[in-house]
Amino acid sequence: MTSTGIGAAVRRKEDHRFITGKGRYTDDINRPGQAHAYFLRSPHAHAKIKSLDVQGAKTKPGVLAILTGDDIATDKVGGLICGWMIHSKDGSPMKAGPHPALAQGKVRYVGDHVAVVIAETVGEAKDAAEAIKIEYEVLPAEVETASAQRQGAAVIHDVAPDNTVYRWHLGDKAKTDAAFAAAKHVTKIDLTNNRLAPNPMEPRAAIGEYDSGDGVFTLYTTSQNPHVARLVLSAFIGIAPEHKLRVVAPDVGGGFGSKIFIYAEETVCVWAAKKVGRPVKWTSDRTEAFLSDAHGRDHVTHAELATDENGKITALRARTIANLGGYLSTFSSSVPTYLYAPLLSGQYDIANIYCEVDGVYTNTTPVDAYRGAGRPEATFVVERLVEAAARELGQDPAKFRRKNYIKSFPHQTPVIMTYDAGDYAASLAKAMEIADYANIGKRKRESAKNGKLRGIGISSYIEACGIAPSQAVGSLGAGVGLWESAEVRVNPVGTVEVLTGSHSHGQGHETTFAQLVSERLGVPFENVAIIHGDTDKVQFGMGTYGSRSGAVGMSAIYKALDKVIEKGKKVAAYVLEASAGDIEFKDGKFTVKGTDKAADFGAIALQAYIAHKFSGQELEPGLKEGAFYDPTNFTFPAGVHICEVEVDPGTGSTRIERWTAVDDFGVVINPMIVEGQVHGGIAQGVGQALLEGVRYNADGQLVTASYMDYAMPRADDLPSFHVGMTVTPCPSNPLGVKGCGEAGAIAAPAAVINAITDAVGHEHVAMPATAETVWKACQRASQKLAAE
């Protein structure tokens, strides 16, 4: 390992520009002559637009245009799409209602886009928006996940009269039911996976621009996948053909999934730019972000676990209602189906699994992928069930898990996935050691002396990352392939530019990808530039989400580097006057086998470009190679997190005293960056477990629309984390990497809730486990004790 190669904790290259204020985010970009967009949003959760009069507002100072759903229709701007087709049990396709970028006749959630005002300044646009005359016929709103399908519910989309998008299932119902019938013990649990607002530090923003000279549109946008945005805006929404639309996603300040999707705002900005003949800029404020960034999670689930007389798990079944909000966001349909149910086997050998999922419309902000996307929901179900089962059976939760772990690989689960590698017991053992699990009883007694309740909770999570084999996801309904692309351009002086279809918005790709290049080509780390985020520069790529950039994005680079080395060997053969088969490449040097003849990488690069040593008939000049990498399987990062809490029974406050994470991410490129990803993921998972929760009132008004009411985790809510690793290399990609971006958020909620329930006498505790929630659980526990 070199000091900058694979496995080295290299400091992040990109941080110099970020911490010196030189980052260049969408809102930092100002185009000559730009105007500003302000979206008039629905104040009602569900209403018909009876009349909309913008004439008076158009005369307000500074106004360039006011556009509505009628203009969208006139210009035939296509609706926003949901790119993953889910079929119901009965074979019928999901019921996707229209999703115009500006409302047409009806609004379906508070914050829905009614009109856009384009003006010289944001202030003028807001003033004019207040002058728009609009009359609503307010309709009853459906807000609750569990009751959206009830008889007599307000119909949100005509296409789905029972507000049901699909009734989907996975697994063998008959076999699973039979296993339950034969079970010695059945554990049942009802869970709510709370709705979360993604809250990236940088709010969404967009600048649309149109060059009438060559008819080219440019969109600067906060995107995790600019090529996908261009594809959707071109092929589906119809803004412009792909070669006439450039999408730039510059520095992006966090996404957590919320910037995967193609939203109304960027669609409108790029469309409106041509209409007003000026660049059009929009930047979300924080409350707009709460209202309009796609939310995450929001499941209501009943789940059961069957065990035999030996405490062996024999079956699992779950029935989930997933709230998809007022419209289907870009990948919303896949999150509670194919990203959820295939993970319900967890780390356990479970022969029978059956899962039913109903996706429902409600009058709330659309729900889509959020850090973990389906996998945290699955982990929460599995790990709460397993914990509850262990306690009901009077077994130590760690032992119960170990007994039921999958122990040989590859392992075919009953729900699609083939786990390729792992050693779950090793992670558990290491985590228990770091967490000093053996002495928890002593620590519980010490807490009790101080009037406190201490609890410990395990979460054995697994995720499917490295998303994803294109054929496989295609067969499941995905509208796109999920490979990745790379191009490696070696410059004549031996410096290297890598163009990647992955997109970095906090992950540190400029560092980790450069480590791979430095390691494989033997060039100094500083001589490698990673270029991403601009469809004019980078070949088509699929972007960053689902912890895929290491496993898929870097594998594409790996493949391209192979080709560069092969080509370099051919050049070196001419330079070193040997046959190509005798050229070896190692540590940045081409050598002739069995001789001391050598040339370093930079010298060969120069020779490739000056092309004096070979003829054009023999070899093409230049040193530039591209590759597309399509994975052959998902990757399966897994691990064990152990959370230890102390609860103050007087107030119900929970303090996390200790956190142990032992993750198996396969081969680690940069342990410092991986640890950072784990820390961030745990913080978000703890946020979900203890603090965060989007709340609507019965009328569908968003009550948590600012940080005054939406509780984000802060540094003092978290302990210092003990992070350990185990490594089983991933067999399906050349680097052996699995992905680490989502693990913390997937593992953490169950660990926290299991720890709290342990502390409060196994009482059920819902997320977020606010002080009041935990206090009530303490009250119930002490009432039960008194009754006994």
Binding site: S653, L690, R695, M712
Partner: protein, 267 residues
């Protein structure tokens, strides 16, 4: 934010006359409630009269037995003041618990009291410490000053000049924070000065800050947390929102009061 006139007053008198000139003008102290409200277009004062340049409105001094804090004194200044720490250490501690560093460096005692947010900390301190709110017109005992949610005894054109506190023999503030805003979900300031015991509660009441008389009576018999065992606050007068139910707030009032008494006793 809508357009407004900005006036920087050089004296309290100047501020009063500027306010008189602008119908619907507002006083700007630290601006930590007013400015966000204006940015959200929820308030549209015609003018802001900024008190920030009036020098003698800010400052802290011990004057005989009274601790005097100027209305424009920031929370950070109170928290860091050796004078306050020597005179009423619990007040310095309370000031340090307000908001975050940005809030503490801009927000002022006068602004906080005049706004009388039902979850603000200072109203509880003023009530428990039997403070006197001194305006350009009169002296108002804290017990007459706080009138309900965002309501005070201040008349139009009346500006808080300073607040005078009488140091207690024992006092402590316990705050249970709202996890989102970190305002007080329940804050209890307990003060004992001879036989006068005051328990002031913020964050919990549906009519803003209040004194919990039953606790005061119990503590008058013996100033000890045990005196409060089994005493329950009235849930019927507690606030209800997404962060806490009235029952839970009532419970927290009792817990925080016991803990404040323990803290006041150095336990």
């Amino acid at each position: 934010m809508y357009a407004f006139e900005y006036v920087r007053a050089n004296s309290v008198r100047g501020a009063v006359s500027a306010l008189a000139k602008h119908e619907d003008g507002k006083i700007l102290a630290g601006g930590h409630t007013l400015l966000p409200t204006m940015k959200q277009r929820l308030a549209s004062p015609s003018a802001l009269v900024d008190l920030g340049a009036i020098k003698d409105l800010a400052g802290i001094e011990q004057r005989g037995r009274s601790l005097i804090i100027g209305a424009m004194t920031t929370h950070a200044a109170v928290a860091a003041s050796d004078v306050v720490k020597a005179s009423i250490p619990s007040l310095a501690e309370m000031a340090h618990m307000i908001g975050d560093p940005a809030v503490r460096n801009r927000g002022t005692i006068g602004g906080s009291i005049a706004n009388n947010d039902p979850a603000a900390d200072y109203p509880a301190a003023c009530l428990a410490l039997n403070a006197t709110i001194v305006t350009n017109q009169r002296k108002i005992p804290a017990s007459d000053f706080f009138k309900g949610l965002y309501e005070t005894a201040l008349e139009p054109g009346e500006i808080i000049v300073r607040v005078a506190f009488k140091p207690p023999s024992r006092a402590a503030y316990m705050k249970f924070r709202n996890p989102a805003s970190r305002f007080a979900l329940v804050g209890v300031f307990v003060a004992k000065k001879g036989s006068d015991i005051r328990v002031a509660v913020t964050g919990a009441g549906n009519q803003g800050v209040f004194r919990w008389r039953a606790a005061e009576e119990a503590l008058a018999k013996r100033f000890n947390p045990k005196s409060l065992d089994g005493l329950k606050a009235d849930a019927g007068m507690m606030n209800a929102d997404i962060h806490a139910s009235p029952d839970y707030r009532a419970h927290l009032v009792a817990v925080m009061t016991q803990r404040a008494v323990a803290k006041a006793l150095g336990k």
